[in-house]
C-alpha cells in the first residue's frame, strides 16, 4: 500500500496572522508551523504503516520554508518526501493548486491520498475533492473516522445536518477532520533517521502543468479595525444587575 499525505505549512494560528494588503496573499513572515489537520492526516497514514505494510510519502507545495514541515514528518516516520517548489506558484488559487498537486500525484502513483479537510489559512475545504475530480477518482472526504482496507477505504463523513457512512474503492482521495487522533511526537532516533531519508524537490517544469493559470484576482484587502476592550467589572454581587442594564440599554433584551 502506497499512501501519499498532503501536508501544508501555515502561519501559526496563535500568532498575529496578516494579509499582504497589496496582493491579498497571506504574509508568511511570521511563525510558520505544520497545519495541525495535515499532521492528523499523516497520523492516519503512519498508523496504517504501523499496523500493516505501507509506504508513506509526504507531498507539499509551498515556498522554501516548507521543507521544515517535510523534515518534521520524516522524523515522525514517513518514508519519503516530495517538495513542489517554484516561484511561479506563489499566490496560486485552488484551481491551479489542485492541478499542480494532481500532476505530482499522477507522476508519483499511489493507492491512497490523505489530506486535511480544511487548512487553517485558506479554509477552502475543497482541495481534496478537486484533486479527485482531476484524477477521475472517488473522494471519501471530511472523514471523522478512517478504516483502510486492502482495496477500499471507509469512514464516517462529517456534515452540518448529520453524518454519513461512506466508502470508496482504491485508489481514492481521503480527507480527515479534527475528530481524528493527534499526531505522535518525534523521537530523537526518528529525527536522526530522518536526515538520511529522501527529500526530493520538484520544479513546475518537471510536472508540465502550464495551465490553468490562477483565475481569481484580489481587488482590495482591508484590515478590520482591532476590537477594543469595553467595560470590565469585578462581581461584587451587583454585576448581574449592571450587565442586565447594559443589555437593556443596548436594546439586546
Amino acid at each position: 500500500m502506497k499512501i501519499i499525505v498532503l501536508i501544508k505549512q501555515v502561519p501559526d494560528t496563535y500568532g498575529d496572522r496578516r494579509l499582504d494588503q497589496a496582493t491579498g496573499r497571506i504574509d508568511r513572515g511570521g511563525d510558520l508551523v505544520v497545519d495541525e489537520i495535515t499532521e492528523r492526516a499523516m497520523e492516519v497514514a503512519l498508523k496504517e504503516k504501523d499496523a500493516r505494510k505501507a509506504e508513506v510519502v509526504l507531498l507539499t507545495m509551498g515556498p522554501a520554508s516548507s521543507v521544515d514541515v517535510l523534515r518534521k514528518g520524516l522524523a515522525l516516520g514517513a518514508d519519503r518526501a516530495v517538495h513542489i517548489l517554484d516561484e511561479d506558484l506563489a499566490g496560486s488559487d485552488m484551481l491551479r493548486t489542485s492541478a499542480v498537486l494532481a500532476a505530482a500525484l499522477r507522476r508519483e502513483g499511489f493507492d491512497l491520498v490523505i489530506a486535511g479537510n480544511e487548512s487553517t489559512d485558506g479554509r477552502g475545504g475543497a482541495l481534496a475533492a478537486m484533486i479527485a475530480e482531476r484524477l477521475g477518482l472517488p473522494h471519501a472526504t471530511s472523514l471523522n473516522t478512517v478504516a483502510i482496507g486492502a482495496d477500499n477505504v471507509a469512514g464516517e463523513r462529517a456534515g452540518e445536518q448529520g453524518t454519513r457512512a461512506i466508502h470508496a474503492e482504491l485508489p481514492a482521495i481521503v480527507s480527515v477532520t479534527e475528530r481524528n487522533p493527534e499526531a505522535r511526537f518525534p523521537s530523537f532516533k526518528g529525527s536522526m533517521r530522518a536526515k538520511k531519508k529522501p527529500l526530493d524537490t520538484v520544479a513546475l517544469a518537471e510536472l508540465g502543468v502550464a495551465e490553468p493559470a490562477s483565475r481569481t484576482t484580489v481587488l482590495t484587502a482591508t484590515r478590520r479595525p482591532a476590537r477594543a476592550a469595553g467595560r470590565k467589572i469585578a462581581d461584587d454581587g451587583t454585576a448581574a444587575a449592571e450587565l442586565a442594564e447594559f443589555l437593556t440599554s443596548s436594546r439586546l433584551i
Partner: protein, 323 residues
C-alpha cells in the same frame, strides 16, 4: 440579464429553507436566478411555488436515482449540464462541507475560478465581485474571477435582499448515470434537532460556554441563559473536547464562524482560535473568573466573576424584566 445558477438542496419534507432563499436573493443581485435541483423523483407543486416565491426565474430539475448514494457526483453533473445550457456568469452553492466540494469539483470541470465562504456579492462593471472575511474576520477581501464564471460558496446567513416573486418555468430531465466514480453513501444519521433554539450559524444571539462550565450537567446553565435570551448555544473547543456538548456547537477556527448581534461567552478564556470564530459579533459579553482571560480584550462588557453566581442572577433579571 446574465444567468446565475443556484444549487438548491431541499431540506426535510422538500421545503425551500432560509439558506436556499438567501442564495436566490444573492443571485438576484447579479442576474437572473436559475434554481438547480437534483432529486430522485418528481418535484412537488409546493416546492416549485416556494422556489418562485424565493425569486427563482427558472427551475432546472434533474432526476437521478443516485442522488443519495453517489457522494456529490449527481450534483456536480447537474450543475455542469445546466451551465453548458445557460452560460452562467456565476454559480452559487452554500458554504457547507457538501457545497464547497460540489463547487470545487465544478470549478475543475468548467476550468473556472472559485471563491469560498463569500459574505457579500455585487455586480460591478459587468462582473461579479465577491467579498470574503478572512483570517478569522481580521481582513475583508474583495475578489473577482477572470476567464469564466465565478463559482462561489456563500456563508449561511450572510445574504438577503429583495426578490421578484415569479412563476418559474420548470424543466425536468433525467440525469445520465455518471462516468465519474464516486464514494458510496451507505447510511445517514441525522443530527437530532434537540430544541426550538435558533440555528447557531445564523442566530442573532449566541450564548457559548467553555471549560469553565466544569461538566456536562453544569453546561445546562449555558442553555438556560440561551433560552432566556432566545439565543443559540455555542461552545469553545475545550468544552467540546471535554464532552460537555456535541461538536456541532463548536465556535472557532475549526468550528462554526458566527457573526451575531450579541455573543455571550461564559467561562471561555478566549484563545485566539475561539476569537477567530466570533470576533465579528456586534456586541460581545464575557463572564470569566480569570481577570486576565484574553476574552476580556475584545469584550464590550466583561464581568470578572463566577458564572455559577452571575448567570443565574442575570437570568432572573431578564425574566423579571419580561414580566
Amino acid at each position: 440579464m446574465p444567468n446565475i445558477l443556484v444549487l438548491i438542496r431541499l431540506s426535510t419534507h422538500d421545503t425551500v429553507d432560509a439558506h436556499a432563499t438567501a442564495l436566490l436573493a444573492g443571485a438576484a443581485r447579479l442576474g437572473t436566478p436559475i434554481a438547480v435541483l437534483v432529486t430522485d423523483g418528481p418535484l412537488g407543486d409546493g416546492t416549485i411555488a416556494a422556489l418562485g416565491r424565493a425569486g427563482a426565474a427558472e427551475v432546472r430539475h434533474y432526476i437521478s436515482p443516485e442522488v443519495d448514494s453517489a457522494l456529490l457526483t449527481p450534483m456536480v453533473d447537474a450543475l455542469a449540464t445546466a451551465a453548458a445550457d445557460t452560460a452562467p456568469v456565476a454559480v452559487l452553492t452554500e458554504n457547507t462541507i457538501d457545497g464547497r466540494e460540489v463547487a470545487g469539483r465544478l470549478a475543475v470541470r468548467l476550468d473556472a475560478g472559485m471563491i469560498v465562504d463569500v459574505v457579500d456579492l455585487r455586480a460591478a462593471e459587468g462582473r461579479a465581485v465577491a467579498t470574503t472575511s478572512v483570517l478569522g474576520g481580521s481582513y475583508t477581501v474583495e475578489s473577482a474571477v477572470e476567464g469564466g464564471p465565478l463559482i462561489a460558496t456563500v456563508r449561511q446567513g450572510s445574504l438577503e435582499g429583495p426578490v421578484t416573486v415569479t412563476e418559474p418555468e420548470v424543466r425536468s430531465e433525467a440525469l445520465p448515470v455518471s462516468a465519474v466514480p464516486s464514494a458510496a453513501v451507505e447510511g445517514v444519521s441525522e443530527t437530532p434537532v434537540a430544541s426550538n433554539r435558533p440555528e447557531l450559524r445564523t442566530a442573532a444571539r449566541v450564548v457559548s460556554g467553555g471549560r469553565g462550565l466544569q461538566s456536562r450537567e453544569r453546561f445546562a446553565l449555558v442553555e438556560q441563559l440561551a433560552d432566556a435570551l432566545g439565543a443559540a448555544v455555542g461552545a469553545s473547543r475545550a468544552a467540546v473536547d471535554a464532552g460537555y456538548v456535541p461538536q456541532s456547537a463548536q465556535v472557532g477556527q475549526t468550528g462554526v464562524t458566527v457573526s451575531p448581534q450579541l455573543y455571550v461567552a461564559l467561562g471561555i478564556s478566549g484563545a485566539i482560535q475561539h476569537r477567530t470564530g466570533m470576533q465579528t459579533a456586534k456586541t460581545i459579553v464575557a463572564i470569566n473568573k480569570d481577570p486576565d482571560a484574553p476574552i476580556f480584550d475584545i469584550a464590550d462588557f466583561g464581568v470578572v466573576g463566577d458564572v455559577f453566581t452571575v448567570v443565574p442572577q442575570l437570568i432572573e433579571k431578564i425574566e423579571a424584566d419580561r414580566r
